[in-house]
């Protein structure tokens, strides 16, 4: 049996519809739906928008407007791991800018980009709430404190081939 691209798209659309329908009854369901889609399917695809819009009786433009407003919603698949480096003031006070520069050099990508092998998406973030133990870094949702360039290299070593 072969599965072509059209089948995959149909399967995805069906799953998006289920996710949206399950949350349709709560107040203000759109953002919880987008989080759930991204959590399960990795990103919010352009093709998902008409499906969500249909379930919620919104225009595609309204859904598009919301998806693009919030930094969390990715429009394309991310790397296998996501490394976010805090660039806010408290972490800047203890070297976060240099750490960010070190990460970009080491991975060869800028903030918001994914390495060519698909292993790591690097991003900046403004505050992880670890402001007394900076520089703070989040790797796949896990928080790390007092991250020196050497410690960052060790953390990256765990998520790069």
């Amino acid at each position: 049996m072969t599965t072509d691209v059209t089948d995959l798209a149909a399967v995805r659309a069906e799953r998006v519809r289920e996710i949206a329908t399950a949350r349709r009854g709560i107040r203000g369901p759109l953002i919880p739906i987008l989080h759930a889609v991204q959590e399960e399917l990795g990103h919010v695809d352009q093709a998902d928008l008409p499906v969500i819009a249909d379930v919620l009786n919104l225009s595609v433009a309204e859904v598009h407007g919301v998806v693009t407003f919030y930094r969390d919603f990715r429009r394309a698949p991310s790397g296998s791991s996501t490394v976010r480096i805090c660039q806010a003031e408290a972490c800047q006070a203890v070297g976060a800018r240099a750490l960010g520069e070190h990460a970009r050099r080491r991975l060869g990508v800028g903030f918001g980009e994914t390495t060519a092998d698909g292993a790591v998406t690097l991003d900046e973030v403004f505050c992880l709430g670890n402001c007394a133990l900076g520089p703070a870094v989040q790797v796949d949702g896990t928080l790390h404190g007092r991250v020196s360039p050497a410690r960052l290299d060790a953390l990256l070593g765990e998520v790069t081939p």
Binding site: I26, R27, G28, P29, L30, I31, P32, L34, H35, L56, E62, G65, V66, F69, Y70, R71, D72, F73, A88, E89, A90, C91, Q92, A93, V94, V125, F126, C127, L128, G129, N130, C131, A132, L133, G134, A136, Q138, G141, L143, H144, G145, R146
Partner: protein, 501 residues
Amino acid sequence: MTRVYVPRDSAARSVGADAVAERLAAAGADVVRTGSRGMLWLEPLVEVETPAGRVGYGPVAPEDVDGLVAAGMLDGRGENLGLVEDLPWMRRQQRVTFARVGVVDPLSPDDYVAHGGLAGLRAALRTSPTAVVEAVVESGLRGRGGAGFPTGIKWRTVLAADADVKFVCCNADEGDSGTFADRMLIEGDPFTLIEGMTIAAHAVGASEGYVYLRSEYPDAVETLTVAIEIARERGWLGERILGSDLTFDIQVRVGAGAYICGEETSMLESLEGKRGQVRAKPPIPALEGLFGRPTVVNNVLSLASVPAIIADGPASYAALGVGRSRGTSVFQLAGNVARGGIVETGFGITLGELVNDFGGGTASGRPVRAVQVGGPLGAYLPVDRFDLPLDYEAFAEAGAMLGHGGVVVFDDTVDMAEMARFAFSFCAEESCGKCTPCRVGAVRGVETIDRIRSGQDREKNLVLLEDLCELMTDGSLCAMGGLTPMPVRSAVRHFGEDFQR
């Protein structure tokens, strides 16, 4: 088996608390995971229960555990910090809102009740909504999110409003750099927030509550979600709460990485499933808030202060603090600071006491040059303003603000022109785009500072910068554009030499 306490707070975990807890359990200790005491430079801080009290060890690295245990740690012996309650950092504080944080297992409802939990809600349910509202007014509690609006007055407006449904919305979109008290309270004592919101619901006649919690805090989301489930099982949420006529439930809503959603009307838009663009006021949210209904919007710390106010009476809360800043504030020491963490104390201690006495100066050992108080929109202050008392009015008079109580310390290597530029670039990145002064002004601000730093028509551009700041302050729709000039102007005013290089 010796009982040992190890924080599960994400800051403690960020420096190895989980591994420490595992090693201690392997060594035969009965490990209880708590919140953090807020002495973050000591994390992972291990506390061992002894007949005299909890003896502290920290910072403890995972590889230290076996040696400490061999030296008698589980009997409270060996090199240690002494009784945690007796540490000067703790003794100098007045912990009201944070009384249980670091002490209790945050997800143990029995622990919560054993440490005074629910006393406020039980007292509130015995009395009328009006009496609760007036008690909050009398306590002098002002919004801890930053604006400092009297909480009780807001509640009075919502109580008096007539509607089919009213809401209590907790703003836990703690996006300001240098602030982490909301996170630590939610991770360390979530039932207090739930209790505070439930008291608010009783006071104003609300039936539904939402906590808008930022996605950058996954541990807090998990802890609060579990705590709400436990509260439902215990009858602390749901129908006929604690046997009363009150019906109220809470949902956690996770933000999506937009700083502006910490602004209350933007947060309401986001809760409604829209772009987080601010609304013009009036109408105020107390009358037309979430889905157009009367809505209490309060910060985590405001709501979490309410149970103690109702349990102990408003007078005891109002007895703390100075002037029109009553009660305690939860200050957060952050950035380049030797002893960073949570300092809850009555308003009125000076900035210098906070940064030097509690904080111990910089972590780098170099001289302190600047502190930013109140988040990215707060002023940068030099050391010669360390005599400023931490109260809302004194800070406003000094062209600064307390905001959410975060204090970020910088040493003498900081370039303040660079920090002023960052204030504008952050605003440009995070502006919701609704009003022109903020959306366009922030971009022009970055450009103007770049010209100043590169020496192009420096004096003319400094005048232009001041003009731009005035326009943004007066013309922006909300505090994002309206207060971005505050860090910029304070940097120019107090650190003008950095703009002349």
